[in-house]
Symmetry: D2
Subunit: 343 residues, 4 copies
């Protein structure tokens, strides 16, 4: 049985790791930390875990964490980079769900996240944890930087085009919408039910931290820089990201369909829908799937790709477990076979 | 591997059976029927099942159904009673999720459901499928009538009181609220999103079909008739029933707490919350659990019991699978260990 | 033109006063205060008021407030009682939407609100601002205590029974559910969208501050004490309260219907629905109406009354404006004729 | 007092006309028709109108309609064109909220709407009812074709750019999302609460009927054809459209801001937000406003315009009333001054 530690378990991605790992046949969560809630039973914070977990939040302790086979960081940015170096040094494998190790360009990271990066040297060995792109590297990694939620939905939608040579331009548009759980579990007026329900809005139009991450990954995949216009929106739902992507292409609709189907033929979690079908977020709610549809409206040379994930699963904790499976030589899908909760 | 047939699989309880049985290690759905959708692939009606089920809806055929180890009816009332007699005769075990075999009093059934009952003799051998009440009888039954959604939430909440002798009166009140999936998947203006979202209302105040069902079960448990005032309400959520129950008692709060904890000590799916905690529907969403809290506000002799279930799981398909497990000698919890989807 | 001041205008009841008074033909908001947001333009906090109000939040100043014809307090409890005495002394009329002057029994107030009451003598002259009960007194009052949201819905539902002599017992039950705006605009994890959407729960079962308020009003109306079991619930909607009330009666259904219709025959905002219809919160959303239905399910002597209001309008700011109209000798309905926003 | 007739009053745009006109000081709804609901009281179909309207749905009668000063058609497409010619002949002024008279190109109309157009000659005199574009023509029109909901939000967002000469390309993208009320009040499984809540999806990607309408209006405004990629999405809210528009421009951010502010300086219902603010649908809920923000993310030459309206008000019935005001020589804003319902 693989022993798992979770650092920062009070947020939604921490809770989702608990939910997913509870049913993992080969891993067990041995310890979970929280500075603010130490001493509180997990089941008292999250009643859904009553009868399932007997864990209590504890203060993070390097020795206890290092003794785990694998440690997940489900912390705000800036936390993992303080503790990860010690764990890496002791040989513990780490999957960081925060943004600390996602950007190769340290200066860019420091600009977007507004603080100095304390271990730039570790960044060099971090592997970007998108299994559909990087499975081989993930399998050997000691430190995996799990992708952001928007970057997962957007990158999976653009990748086949970038790799296929049909793009007429590297000027891309990603119009994405996320459920509110992506904003985390902080007490902010902006995230109150009465502020968000029954409404919809764009945010972060001038610049969102996921922009450089997406451009880095897409640029690397394309072999040349891409320029992305990225506009995130906030949906009055808890879970789910839907990305609507626009790209100029030199290809017919059936070619595009074939490009996508071929690209993801061996990916168990990415489902390319038949031509004419479109994804909806509920059909991946609670599951690790990503559903993608590609269209060429009115045959005008502008491809529209729709991509849907559950931001807490494929966009965060599920993808992290998928990485763990790969790192440990297990089948990618172990513990991740739950079907979306519909209706 | 147990072979399962589902009659009437296009509705929400049929879809939920598919979702739950997909992960059941010892059962496999071999056939699913629908008169209206025959020839349609299940995954085309419910995209969430893409990659999981390769089944196609077929017309109901007695021979093919009788060849299954167990057949679930997820049909509107009035359908099962036409087909069940043949299956029973051939030795197939049946779990009916509809109302056809829930009421012992055939005249009452015919009054409430507005049609003649076509096999009253079978009613005599039907076992009411509430495992917390009837596990022994269910294990031997050939025909199980799975309880209604409201009756499950209400009955589980009142049972410990009825059996304990602390009730000061058999005049009971059940104020319950259900998610919209309980209304099924019929095209009705009343159930449109724009009619129900952002609103709340009572319905069926003058009389709801679940009233005689609840009174029958509670009366049998009490050993004398009970009179229930039952008011259902419609919540702008998809899944979940919350029942708030009122009863006059001659007992102190800690006695009540002990009565509930003792009563459900051996029930894996009923969770009596510690004094002072209250259930919420989200903490059972997608799970087979029922969470119950008992209070005695202001020590005035009026007990308030809150009971929460997912109407599609413990209130329908999950409870039916639980019955199947018991009928087949499996552990009650096999395939039903998923944790609620929170947030 | 009547000059209006609002103390504590950043919360939802303050914003609702602004929305309603913007269209009032005979009143104008001259100043609005907020300690925390002074200097902020109202339209920057609430973009819905762009182009409508040019006000800026200012620090509360007794002189400026006293110069208004009428001052509303839309503050948390404990604030009004500090400032109201000065205004009363100077002859300004005051409508307090908070709880400070609602309870006649000061000891009870101090127990339920957990702090000393600083001006018990003023309590004696405060008039409880439920126009359907107290219009005459309100018209002459200098200090009106606007009722709580739950007390409005519950009291309007019980009043006709209490006054009619058909009650078989003074043991009453009020099962009520409120939209989230009732919880105010504070940054609390419990009120986040991701915590409340798609769920439903009871809260405050052991004791809610509106209990003594309701019992006081109902007891006064009945001429003898009543005992209420009051269970509030939280709905995943922003606006709306629905109360389902239970009472034992010695009367037939048509008698009950007549009692309610007669009682509210002259009340422009209380609409007794025809027998067989039931209210829904959306049909009062944004309006000052209260819709009430009375039933006698199965003719068993237990009356069920359903009562629906918008908690921010009839349950708070609309009712306060209704009181203002009465105090100023205007028609009760001036500025309050907006129709509910449906769908 | 202007006498108003409404044809097809059972749908949501019909109900919204009733809601808005109830408070219009110079217009009164004299008759409302419905073939399916004739004989039903309006207040029985829409309880929100209890106490406000005493109208009963009647069968459409040309004489009675022709006697009105103005007739609104709130019908599905294909209905108005049968009855409008008679009314026009008799001199009655008509505002058609359906699509029958929106497209100048009759062949295009017949292709997109899949039926023959029965009065192409009338199309020539129909005026497209977007007041911000066509106020002069509307004031003299006998037949006004009120714009579609998406076309209103999209056109208002693009117009200033098209007229300003800063567009670097006429290749435009409109990514729009609508509340469910836009789908109407038909009994369809796809529009059930349990199918749409807690989810989000694109639809009509291959081609939506509002595409030719938008391209026609934008092309006319630009003086040359534009090519639009238009992707609508369905939001789990009842009211509201948010359009996110993308266009390549040769201009700086402050120029863009000035272009928008100047363009709408005299438009009472279009509110250009200050730089840095973004609209949300709730801040126009129930109001006739359109809120627009223009951004130039990362200064990369790609303008992003966000535009929000209430699809039932500015996107349908409110805009129709605005047109009526203009046609009758009233101030544009009469009866349309309600503030958005927030929260």
């Amino acid at each position: 049985m693989i022993s798992v530690g979770i650092v920062g378990g009070t947020g939604y991605t921490g809770a989702e790791l608990l939910r997913l790992l509870a049913l993992h046949p080969q891993a067990r969560v041995e310890l979970i930390t929280s500075r603010t809630e130490q001493g509180l039973r997990v089941a008292d914070l999250y009643p859904a875990f009553r009868g399932c977990y007997d864990l209590t939040f504890e203060a993070p302790d390097a020795d206890r964490l290092a003794a785990c086979d694998i440690v997940f960081f489900a912390t705000p940015h800036g936390v993992a980079m303080e503790l990860v170096p010690t764990l890496i040094e002791r040989g513990t494998r780490v999957i960081d769900l925060s943004a600390d190790f996602r950007l190769d360009d340290i200066t860019s990271w420091e600009n977007w996240y507004g603080q100095p990066h304390t271990c730039p040297e570790l960044q060099k060995q971090a592997v970007y944890g998108l299994p559909e792109l990087n499975a081989e590297a993930i399998s050997k990694a000691q430190l995996v930087a799990a992708p952001g939620c928007y970057p997962t939905a957007v990158t999976l939608g653009f990748l086949p085009l970038l790799r296929s040579g049909v793009l007429a331009s590297h000027d891309l548009i990603a119009n994405a919408a996320s459920g509110v759980s992506g904003a985390g579990r902080q007490a902010k007026v902006d995230n109150l039910f009465a502020e968000l329900n029954d409404s919809f809005k764009a945010y972060g139009v001038s610049g969102h931290r996921h922009l450089p991450e997406i451009e880095q990954v897409l640029g690397a995949a394309a072999g040349e820089p891409v320029s992305l216009t990225f506009v995130p929106h906030l949906l009055p739902i808890i879970r789910g990201i839907h990305a609507t992507l626009y790209a100029s292409v030199a290809a017919q609709a059936d070619q595009l369909q074939a490009i996508f189907e071929d690209f993801y033929a061996a990916s168990p979690f990415v489902d390319v829908l038949p031509a004419g079908q479109l994804p909806q977020t509920r059909s991946v709610k609670g599951s690790n799937g990503c559903r993608i549809a590609v269209s060429l409206p009115q045959n005008r040379g502008k491809a529209v790709i729709c991509s849907a994930i559950d931001n807490l699963v494929k966009g965060a904790s599920g993808q992290a477990v998928q990485c763990m499976n790969i790192m440990l030589g297990l089948s990618e899908t172990v513990g991740l076979d739950a079907i979306a909760l519909t209706p």
